[in-house]
Every structure is written in C-alpha cells, then in structure tokens.
C-alpha cells in the first residue's frame, strides 16, 4: 500500500510540475476533450449572407489592469464576455508611470475586410479585434514591455494569427498555436494592435473524417473478432470439461497443441 501510495504521489507531483511548466497561460490544458466546440454560434461583425438571420453582435470589453509602483502592471486576463477574444498579460507587461494607478485595456471587434486585404492564399476566419492599452488618467498609450498572449476564437478553425501593421498589411505574429479542440489560436505578441485569425486556403485538405471513420470501423471489427474467438474457445473448453465430467474422468489439461500432436505422430 505504501509503495503504491509512493508511486501515486510521484506521478501526481510529476504531472503538477509538467503542467505548470508547459500549460501556464498557454494554449495547453491539463486534460480536456470534447466534441464540436464551441457549441455557441460565432458572433460576426459582418456575417456571411447565409448566417445573417441568426447572428448576434459580438461583444467588446474594457478592463482596468492595476499598476504597482515597482513591478508595473499585475498579471491579468482580459476576456470579452462572449469569449471570442482574450489578452493574457504577465506581471510587468506595462511599466509604472508617475501618478497612474491603472492601465485601461480595450478589446473591440471589427470587420477585417474594412481594414485591409488578406495575405495571399489566406482568408479571414472571423472578426478582427482591435486591442489597445492606455494609462487610465492621462490617456497616453501604454506599450507592452513583456510579450502578451492574444487568444482569438474562429468559426472555421483557422490556424494563423495575424496582426495588422499599417503600411505593410497583415503579418503573422510568428509564435502562434492553433488549438483545434476549441477553435482558438493563441499567439505571443510584443505589440498590441489589430488581430485576426487567418485560414490558409489549401487545394485539397486531408480527408480526416473518412480516415477516422474507417479506422474506428477496423478497430471495432478486429476487437469483435477477438472477443468472438475468445468466447467460442471458452465454450469449446467448457463443453470438453462437461463431457469429461460425464465420463467420470477428471477435466485434466487441455488437448495437446498441434505441434505436440505432430511430434507424437513422428
């Protein structure tokens, strides 16, 4: 029991350490599986014609991030009420400023088509989000001192996070992680601005559904056959035992294997 407990505590400690190192503020969750997620319909600024009827307006948010005198801003997460956009900030993301006690972070949805053309072979996947930060009292722009994590949900599962650079157009933030499970893209950025999820337009996508369905059918078929064989073998064994019992013989060992019978014949 104590050895079992020891292994269990070691496994739990290993998991805690690994999860804290790899999952802190990132796209990795300690464990999470689900079906089609999110089940809430995407809220568009400018919906495709077929989705106009049921579309709800996307929500923005404005949140205060407290400043400390020595370390600057505190660690915080700013999430829009509809969960479509978020900014995760580490401690010290904004520097302290004389007379200021907070930075206002603002996240507002926008139509990407009105901002710029998409990059080649790329389509917009959902709304753009304009993320700004200003010092609460004087209204001057607050710049990021540490990279922040931008999280955008997309309707189709786009894999790129793009930031708009005036004069250049949309550029990839570089350090981005698409999470298919939640239709989100996480990206590290050193600058705030306007972000959108980009969907690479492929010629032929990988046929995941037929492959997955086919493989699951093979798995069920193979498992069923093993179960069927195992049950028939058990039935044969018990019939043999019953016959032996009826003849008054002990059940004894199983019938010799084919190899053994062949040796005997020789």
């Amino acid at each position: 029991m104590s050895r079992r407990l020891g292994w269990g505590l070691a496994a739990a400690a290993t998991y805690l350490a690994v999860a804290v190192v790899f999952a802190g503020n990132g796209p990795v969750l300690p464990l999470y599986d689900t079906g089609p997620l999110p089940s809430e319909p995407y809220r568009w600024v400018n919906p495709p014609p077929e989705l106009t009827a049921g579309n709800l307006a996307p929500e923005g948010t404005r949140q205060e991030v407290a400043l400390t005198e020595d370390a600057g801003s505190v660690a915080s997460s700013i999430v829009t009420p509809d969960g479509q956009a978020a900014l995760v900030l580490r401690q010290g993301s904004f520097g302290p400023k004389l007379g200021e006690i907070a930075v206002m972070v603002d996240i507002q949805p926008a139509d990407p088509e009105r901002i710029d053309e998409p990059p080649p072979s790329t389509g917009y996947d959902g709304n753009a989000y304009v993320v700004t930060a200003t010092y609460a009292k004087d209204g001057s722009t607050a710049t990021l001192l540490n990279p922040g994590t931008v999280v955008l949900r997309s309707p189709l599962g786009g894999t790129r996070l793009l930031r708009h650079q005036p004069g250049t157009g949309w550029v990839s933030v570089g350090d981005e992680t698409p999470v298919a499970a939640s239709l989100q893209v996480f990206g590290e950025t050193t600058q705030l601005g306007t972000f959108v999820v980009g969907l690479t337009i492929h010629g032929k996508p990988f046929p995941t559904l037929p492959v997955s369905l086919g493989a699951s059918a093979v798995a069920v078929g193979a498992a069923w056959y093993v179960a069927y064989r195992s049950r028939s073998q058990k039935r044969v064994r018990s019939r043999r035992e019953r016959r032996a019992a009826a003849q008054g013989k002990p059940a004894g060992p199983k019938a010799p294997s084919r190899t053994a019978s062949r040796k005997k014949r020789r």
Partner: protein, 189 residues
C-alpha cells in the same frame, strides 16, 4: 512495481492471430482518435473506439476485484492533482460551458479511458506494469496532438502516467475514467 503487477495479474497467453488483431485494434483505434475531426462526428468516433476497447477480452486477471478504499484514495490523488493545476492556471479561456459540452466531456473521458486504460493497458501488461503504463500514456498523448498541438504532448504524457498509475493501483479502469471526467469538467468552470 513490475513484480507486484505481474504476480498479481498474470496475463493469459495469447495466440498469434489474437495478438495480431489486438495490435490492429490498437493501431486503428489510435488512428481513428488522431484523425477525428472537431465536428459532430467527434463524439461518435470516440465512442466507437471505446466500444472496440470494451469488446476486447481482458487479459489482466487482477482487474477482477477492486478494493474500494484504494479506489477512492487513488481517485482523490488524481483529482487533487488535476484540481491543483486547474487552480494554478487562472481564468478559463474556453467558451462558456453548456449542458451539451459538459455531457460530451464526460462521455469523451469514459470512452478514452475504456480504450487506453482498459484495452491498451491490458494489451501491454504482459511486459509488466511500467511498460503498460508508459505505452498507454504515450499513445494517449499522441492522439491528442491534432487537438492541442505538439506543445501538449508532455502534459498529456504526464496526465497519462497519473491515470495509468490509478489503473495499476486499483486494478480497474473506472478510477482513471472518473478522474479524467472530473478533470475535463474542471477545465470548463
């Protein structure tokens, strides 16, 4: 650990065709989970793979009896670890939970555990509990790559080791299944 597990659960000798078919079930199940798209087919495919795992006859004799005290204790350790990590992560960045989501994460957890901790663990137990735990955890981590990316592999591998320990300690796949379901729900709230 090895001696205990092997002594306690001496696996039944398997014939070559049944070994081959066990391998086919394992590989096909992993491919099905790895390629499952995030669509309405996600849960049905996960359940089909769980059926494959549940159909396969068990080889680990030790799984027949479960000590309730050990079971509760191992679930407490596992759920405690997942809860601690959830607490350390801060606010939830996933969309707000719905009844459908909560139901589907519970179904997905039981289905995956039926495949990995019941069937895959059993398939590898003839080489000893450490191999069974490691191999089932590795397969578990790999099938999640398409959902969470390669960055999730160390976390899922460590989660698999913890769930594998529960399987070994209790002799039953239900302890990791309950823990996995609780962990999935914790991620949503």
């Amino acid at each position: 650990m090895t001696t205990d597990a092997v002594r306690a659960g001496t696996p039944r000798a398997a014939t070559l065709p049944s070994n081959l078919l066990t391998g086919v079930t394992l590989v096909a199940g992993c491919v099905a989970l790895l390629a499952r798209p995030v669509s309405d087919a996600f849960i049905p495919i996960t359940i089909a793979v769980a059926i494959a795992g549940a159909l396969h006859p068990r080889t680990d004799a030790r799984a027949m009896g479960v000590d309730r005290g050990v079971w509760i204790f191992s679930v407490a350790i596992g759920a405690g670890a997942f809860a601690a990590v959830r607490g350390a992560l801060g606010p939830n960045l996933l969309p707000p939970p719905t009844g459908w989501l909560l139901g589907s994460v519970v179904v997905a957890a039981f289905a995956e555990e039926a495949f990995f901790r019941r069937f895959a663990y059993d398939a590898f137990i003839r080489w000893g509990a450490p191999v069974a735990i490691a191999a089932s955890s590795l397969a578990f981590a790999i099938v999640h790559v398409t959902l969470w990316g390669w960055r999730a592999v160390p976390v899922d591998l460590a989660a698999g080791l913890l769930l594998g320990w529960q399987r070994w300690a209790t002799g039953s796949w239900t302890a990791p299944a309950v823990t996995h379901a609780a962990a999935n729900i914790a991620m949503l709230v």
